[in-house]
């Protein structure tokens, strides 16, 4: 394997990491502020991908369709997120954490059934929008422009989240909620509404991830659990509730997957390497690389 190949696999790993980061950032943000692990996060990613497919195939031509989907799908998943937060999570805040796990776990079953009922169990595929559907030469190999686009979007999302958290009033409240929600409510901030907004941002990111991944992988009813497993691995490696952790974790997992699949002898076990990495990190730092130790 020459240098060109290495760079190529490296870039491919980063493009996998890009989507995983966007999805995991949503999961991690929600955990940081609400202390809830949203088991249904992968379902919203799947819904994002299916909405993307629907918009592109049925509502517009392929070029305009993708950009429309990029707006519509996160909006829809954010609205679903609001409904979920208000009707499922609000009643179980402050109760045992296992009720939150089980409640959102129930939603994964419901969403999986609904998606299969509405869209069927077929595997679908979408092509990238025409403007990005080409490749550029890198070290003598062709590399997909769309995958470079994914990396750029992830950088934009990371920057946007940083600005949101550090330069806006909403972000200040979210950071305060992450450190002490009870104290925040005594300062007159409407924590109830804040939590709904944070959850909507989280699910919008899941939906966005679903749209972005749809041209690079198949859209099918099993994609919810696949992404959820990876997002969990990333947030455990990076530390739940930490955006930097999500970023670092996503890059680690993206590279492991990319290089793991590259060599025939390890291809079957690439996913096992991810979990091995997770076990190793947790054995040394049970709260992840950038996480805070639970009380």
């Amino acid at each position: 394997m020459d240098v060109g190949n290495l760079v190529l696999f490296f870039l491919a790993g980063l493009s996998i990491a890009a989507v995983l980061f966007i999805v995991t950032a949503g999961l991690s943000l929600v955990f940081g502020a609400l202390r809830v692990i949203n088991m249904a996060h992968g379902s919203l990613y799947m819904i994002g991908a299916f909405v993307s497919w629907f918009v592109i195939v049925h509502l517009a031509n392929a070029l305009f369709g993708f950009w429309a989907a990029l707006l519509v799908a996160p909006l829809i998943t954010a609205i679903i997120g609001a409904v979920v937060e208000i009707f499922v999570l609000k009643p179980v805040y402050g109760k045992e954490h296992l009720l939150q796990l089980l409640g959102t776990y129930a939603l994964t079953l419901i969403f999986a059934g609904l998606v299969r009922k509405v869209f069927g169990a077929d595997v679908r595929s979408i092509s990238a929008p025409a403007a990005l559907n080409s490749s550029v030469p890198i070290f003598g190999h062709g590399f997909s422009v769309y995958q470079l686009f994914l990396i750029a979007v992830a950088v934009l999302v990371a920057g946007g989240l940083y600005l949101l958290l550090n330069r806006t009033g909403l972000g200040r409240n979210i950071r305060a909620a992450i450190s002490d929600p009870q104290l925040l409510s005594t300062t007159g901030v409407n924590v109830t509404r804040l939590f709904t907004i944070v959850f909507m941002i989280g699910t919008a990111l899941a939906g966005l991830g679903g749209v972005l991944v749809s041209p690079t992988s198949s859209v099918d009813p099993g994609m919810d659990s696949n992404v959820l497993i990876n997002a969990f691995a990333i947030s455990v490696i990076g530390g739940l509730g930490s955006l930097v952790g999500s970023l670092v974790g996503a890059v680690i997992v993206g590279l492991i997957l990319s290089f793991g699949f590259a060599y025939p002898p390890t291809a079957h076990y690439a996913i096992a390497f991810v979990f091995a990495a997770m076990v190793i990190v947790l054995t040394i730092r049970p709260w992840g690389l950038f996480g805070r130790a639970e009380q």
């Binding site: 009720l99 796990l101 939603l107 049970p286």
Partner: protein
Amino acid sequence: MDRLRALLPSARGDRIRWGLAALLAVTILLVPNLAQVAENAFPDSVSARFAIFLASQALVLGLWATSFNLMLGYTGMVSFAHAAYYGIGAYTVAIIAHNYHQNAVYGLLAAPLVAGAFGFVTGLIALRAVRLYFSLLTLAISQLLFTIAFEWYDFTGGDNGIHNLVIPDWLSDQTTIYYFIAAVTALCLLLMFIVVRSPFGAALLAIRENRQRASSVGLSVKAYELAIYTIAGLFAGVAGGLYAIYDLQAYPQLLYWTTNAQPVVIALLGGTGSFLGPVLGAVIYTYLQNFVGKNYPNEFDIVLGAIVLGVVLIAPGGFVSLPDFFLRLRSRFRRRPEDERVELVESAGQAMAALEVSRAVASSAVQVDPGAAEPAGPDQRATLLKVNGLSKSFGGLVAVRDVSLNVKQGDRHAIIGPNGAGKSTLFNLITGRLKPSAGSVEFDGRTITGWADYRIARAGIGRAFQITNIFPRLSVRQNVQYSMLAYRKVTIRPFGFADRIFREEASDLLESVGLGRYSELAAGQLSHGDQRALELAISIALGSKLLLLDEPTAGMSPYETQKAMELVRRLATERGLTLLFCEHDMNVVFGTAQTVTVMHLGRVLTEGSPQQVRNNPDVQRIYLGELEASA
């Protein structure tokens, strides 16, 4: 007292549950006969063979879900790896029968050992983390095991799995297999039932209710969690082995994490709070799966999700709690309208009734305990606790700096100081919740510096917390009784009946702290003041020689405060306890303490009798002065 009785667990609901269990047992015995009768009656629509097959499936799922509930319901652990141990059980039977051509029943004997061994090793890793991280780690472990089963073609058959197992001739008949499965399931259920009612099971309940408290009554929480994780894995292995025997196959999907939905749904359906709940849940699940799931696979997932969601949001007790639910519903209809106000419990009825007294106390002058007012001569008593140069820093912040302290045997020693003086940190250092950066702690002649909190609790330092810290859903008596079990190391015993051990002793102790009549009430329903009294009782149950009280009267009404401190003084005298407490209420401090240490900014400022401290100008300046100025 009628109000009190309405809150107690209903003996009637219990009787109904035992009745249901007996009915279930009889039904299980009669399944093959009933199936035959049904087939004879409706030969077109019913197949006895299929009905018996479904009953076998329900039993195996029931066994599997019950083993899962040992963690979910009894210990409060959410594992996503339980399907992996079930799958390992099935593969053990399949591999022994198929690859090694041995009797499948030997495989069934090996299944729990193999699954238990995997459970122990992977549990060691998963239990590096707690709560959510533990759950996520089990997910990773389950996917690792799945990948191995999926990819190791030579040994596990890869993604095809292993099919068409050969089982011994005497087992090949459908009815015989059914009775065989029923017998094995019954044996396993009996063993698990013995475990959950044993002192070991009591320790699990304590951990479920309050991990931190469980540790401070002397339980090594992680060891118990590892033990139950292994035991649950072992029984899941039996269930998986039985699965391979009636379905004659093993395949990787059995280990996949989504398969784990089955024990979760089944346990929740039947009720996690009841031992046989999951078995009932398995019957309902099997019915749903074969009569809804076969025809409407997508709707089936939605129905399952809706059921889990409904249980989570509406009735965390599941189906088994229905008897209680109906009894409550009925009593609600029977109740006269004027009684309806008495919904919430006021166990501190005395406190309310004595509102007058409370006003009187609040307005009266400081109540000084005559014992405390005695001038303290040179103290000849032995030193029980010796703190030497103790320091603790968090990053750059030094919370406790070079603190030395001697607590004499039988003393009532107060630590005072403004907020941030380091009092709570000092307590955390003494009780082992924090590790000191420097210095040493000696207790009763032993150096206990850096010991784990449960070992220090065993050594005889009891602690009541700033935030009330009890086992809320256990009864008041169980709070005390299980603490005794933990402290006296009886909880390592996985047999015997926990509720019968030390029962008298616990009741006596509760009488002496004035909680006798509430002993069967759930501890979480007690008033705040009574919960503090219960904490004291727990500390005494632990045989503590030294009692650390962190703001014992925080959040109490003046009347409750007075009562609580009377109780503390009386118990200390009666039982020869040494007290070390920190407190903001100066009435409490000067009414109870014989020695007072003043801390300021992490250091000891001065120490002496209440009178000396009162007259110390430095103390007046930094502390009492503040108070008087603000008063």
